[in-house]
């Protein structure tokens, strides 16, 4: 293979520690990338093994792995923010619709 040529992506596995990430982060990442990959999860003890299956052979494995990791990291942060702000969010929504006259 010549230097710089994309590494065509066959299925590959990436393992993550569940002490660092929640399973939801992987599920969300897989959903967000469904136009590029199918992902199968295998959970054992404190680890999740993600089997990543590209939908086409045009994908570069390294780019795909990087993008999947970015999605997982982003979703982990989102989940953390959602947990921290859930009560405020509920309060804001409650106040927003509290005097609309739509309650009947």
């Amino acid at each position: 293979m010549q230097t710089g040529e994309p590494i065509k992506a066959a299925s590959f596995d990436v393992a993550f520690s569940l002490s660092m990430y929640s399973l939801d982060a992987f599920k969300r990442a897989a959903y967000a990338m469904m136009h590029r990959v199918s992902v199968k999860f295998d959970v054992t003890n404190d680890q999740v093994l993600c089997s990543i299956m590209p939908l086409t052979d045009k994908e570069d494995r390294l780019i795909l792995e990087r993008d999947f990791l970015r999605e997982v990291n982003d979703h982990e942060l989102r989940i953390s923010i959602e947990a921290q702000t859930e009560q405020t969010r509920t309060a804001i929504l409650g106040l927003t619709f509290s005097r609309t006259g739509l309650q009947g």
Binding site: Y31, R78, I81, Q84, I92, T96, T100
Partner: protein
């Protein structure tokens, strides 16, 4: 004694730290992220700064701290009103929901003198009057329109070519006005017409009732005539003559125009915009083609892919921005509606950018035969044989049966962007809409899988494109601010 606390007091307050208010984020490009709050206000941060902010590690001296505080992304000891202000902004955004349906579209006929291959409302030949709305159907439809609690009733006449049934247009206007003498709604009338059949009678009717004219102009003569064939191949000439006549007789702003993008348009964005400028319009709506009606039957929809439309759109948008930077005021209306959501607490009434979906809520269609559709796209879908969004018939259903229709309620509830996969964590959710009809048509699902959705891909690309442009250039930001408040 000083009336003000010493400076140290404020530093002590700020040093106490902050807590997060709800926000979402999404990658813009590279390491830049768009971070938005519940009301749609946004900032652009790089990933490192985003992490610092989310972990509550920013100091008050950080340059972005004040912006995040001003836009209600954080709450510190010195900002106790942030939750109340967010609530007011959010309530302002959702306030139009309480008014329910303002736009009532009457399809006066399916007949048309044109035979546009992309026509989204499959037309009938113009001599078959069984495709005309009857007075009885019109009366029943008017009855339903007045059941809406909206203080504004916008009555829009659609076709086919609506003017081929001018008698029923006149009848509806007179009946609506008669009814309104004790209802006191704010009435607006719009006739959607290709203007080819504009006559003295129509002009007089429009003058008498302050009717606005909405027409189609697809671009320069060759493109327009190719897109919009009619006997004599003179659609462009008739449309332009009609626009001039309406302006001459009814006033400059009595006529607006919409263009439809086809595969032939994609290489002509500047020429199309130049045509609108030549015809003295103040802006243009660069529209994508919808997957409905003859557009899909004739493979027009498949003929161009989304990325080509996005290239067309941004080439046109940049051309328009450049005109504005040189001092010529001209607006791209789709961008203006998105910017209204991004930069103001207000909502445009555009059905595609509403969540809960505008389907049946912001607009409703009374078809020529009495069938009621939840949107114009629902009617287009029905003309293809899918009547999922036919929510009743004016002759056989009550207002309650129509607007509490199970299909409509299920579509509205299940597609609400705040609670569906991907939209619920997307930073653009406050700027976007829900389109259950589009996703039903393309994925047989009211919600739709957003990574596979052309609606999501298109809007996401437009949102990112607008933010990149205004983030990189304060002059463009000024132009966009003006568009947002139009």
């Amino acid at each position: 004694m000083s009336k003000f606390s010493p400076l140290e007091h404020f530093e002590d307050v700020l040093d106490a730290g902050y807590r997060l208010l709800p926000f979402r984020f999404i990658q813009l490009e590279g390491d830049d992220y768009v971070v938005s709050n519940m009301a749609g206000e946004f900032v652009v941060l790089d990933r490192v700064k985003l992490d610092e902010f989310a972990k509550c590690e920013l100091t008050p001296h950080d340059p972005v701290y004040s912006e995040l505080k001003a836009k209600h992304f954080l709450l510190d000891e010195d900002s106790s009103s942030a939750v109340d202000l967010l609530t007011v902004k959010l309530r302002t955004k959702f306030a139009p929901l309480a008014n329910f349906t303002a736009l009532h579209m009457f399809v006066t006929t399916l007949r048309c003198d044109h035979s546009c291959p992309y026509c989204q409302v499959s037309r009938a030949n113009d001599d078959r009057q069984e495709f005309d709305m009857s007075r009885e159907t019109a009366l029943k439809s008017i009855e339903l329109a007045f059941r809406s609690p909206s203080p504004v009733l916008k009555i829009e006449f659609q076709g086919g070519e609506s003017l081929l049934n001018l008698d029923v247009i006149r009848f509806i206007i007179e009946e609506v006005k008669k009814r309104n003498s004790h209802e006191n709604r704010d009435l607006q009338f719009v006739i959607a017409t290709n203007l080819a059949l504009l006559c003295d009678e129509t002009i007089e009717l429009a003058r008498e009732h302050d009717i606005l004219i909405s027409t189609s102009l697809d671009g320069p003569e060759a493109l327009h005539n190719r897109n919009r064939p009619r006997p004599g191949n003179d659609s462009y000439k008739r449309t332009i003559e009609g626009i001039h006549r309406v302006r001459r007789e009814l006033g400059r702003d009595s006529v607006g125009a919409l263009m439809t993008t086809t595969a032939s348009s994609l290489s002509q964005s500047k020429a199309i915009i130049d045509e609108y400028i030549a015809q003295d319009f103040r802006g243009i709506f660069l529209r994508p083609l919808s997957p409905y009606g003859f557009a899909i039957k004739t493979k027009f929809y498949q003929a161009y892919d989304q990325s080509k439309w996005l290239d067309f759109y941004f080439e046109g948008l940049d051309y328009i921005i450049d005109l504005n930077l040189k001092g010529f005021a001209f607006t791209e209306y789709y961008a203006a509606m998105v910017l209204r959501k991004m930069l103001t607490p207000f909502q445009p009434g555009y059905v595609d950018l509403l969540s809960p979906a505008g389907t049946g809520v912001a607009a409703v269609v009374y078809n020529y035969d009495g069938d009621v559709y939840a949107s114009d796209e629902s009617r287009m879908l029905a003309e293809m044989g899918d009547k999922t969004f036919c929510i009743g018939n004016v002759h056989s259903n009550t207002y309650e049966e129509i607007f509490l229709n199970d299909t409509l309620l299920e579509a509205l509830e299940s597609s609400f962007a705040g609670s569906v996969p991907m939209c619920s964590w997307c930073a653009f959710e406050p700027h976007c809409g829900a389109d259950p009809v589009f996703h039903h048509a393309t994925q047989s699902d009211f919600v739709g899988k957003k990574p596979l959705s052309a609606f999501c891909n298109r809007n996401m690309s437009v949102f990112k494109g607008l933010i990149k442009r205004m983030n990189n250039n304060p002059e463009i930001r000024d132009i966009f601010e003006r568009w947002a408040y139009m």
